[in-house]
Amino acid sequence: MLPILRRFAGAAAEELGFAPDDVIKIEMAVDEACSNIILHAYAHGVTGPQVIDLRLDTRGEALAISIRDRGRGRPAPADGGTLADYHTLDRANYHGLGTLIIRQFMDEVRYEAEPGQGTSVTMIKHLRPPLGRPDFSSARPVTC
């Protein structure tokens, strides 16, 4: 499932004109969010269908990605640490890197959880013009 979800998000990002590096960042954020669902949302004896609901929405010059599960409803992951914290061989493990990637690669991230009903994460990435392409988004006509 994860490759399909990555490709779906990546294809949408490409189509919307995101720069290549941002396409990768969006793919990774989706992958990490979905991985967290697979690993945590339906663990610990949760019964019922194991569903990942992925929605893409364009909001002006931004891509909004909403990922929802129907699992146990997890609290938002701890919002701490930096990538540099993972650049060491002295860690007991490297858990949490995925959550950090989501926060680092997306411009806005919001978690909502309802115990026993599921969790949703909404991630927003703003479109920026790639290098070499001028940004006329704020241009105004000039009359003489």
Partner: protein, 123 residues
């Protein structure tokens, strides 16, 4: 889309000999389990020099990066080493975006990778 595959070529000359691990497909939260299982078996056979050929790897997630970090951690404790050989452009970009190109020893040339692991070149 290529599924995950891992191939290992072990040099026959003892514990300090090199093992070449070729990973293809994608290394994510679901495929990393198989990767870790294979690596654990290689470590149990006392290999301490790993040549990780990631040229055919199309994607790596935090789980895959974490598994590589744990492997490097364990090898360094055994005075061993790991070199990553010529990752695909996308995987190299991912490692670069996350700053891990400063952590892993990444070489584009097979001869240089073998030399870095203290291995003789084939004649």
């Amino acid at each position: 889309m290529k599924p995950f595959e891992i191939e290992c070529v072990e040099s026959p000359s003892g514990p300090a000999a090199m093992v070449e691990v070729r990973v293809s497909g994608y290394l994510d939260a679901q495929t990393v389990i198989s990767f870790e299982h294979t690596i654990e078996q290689l470590l149990q056979r006392q290999h301490t020099r790993f040549l990780m050929d990631l040229g055919a790897l199309t994607y790596i997630s935090s789980a895959g990066i974490g598994a590589l970090m744990v492997l490097l951690q364990q090898l360094r404790r055994r005075e061993g080493e790991m070199v990553i050989l010529q990752p695909s452009p996308k995987v190299h970009k991912i490692l670069d975006l996350l700053g891990f190109t400063q952590i892993f020893r990444i070489l584009a040339d097979r001869e240089a990778a073998l030399a870095a692991l203290g291995q003789p070149l084939a004649t």
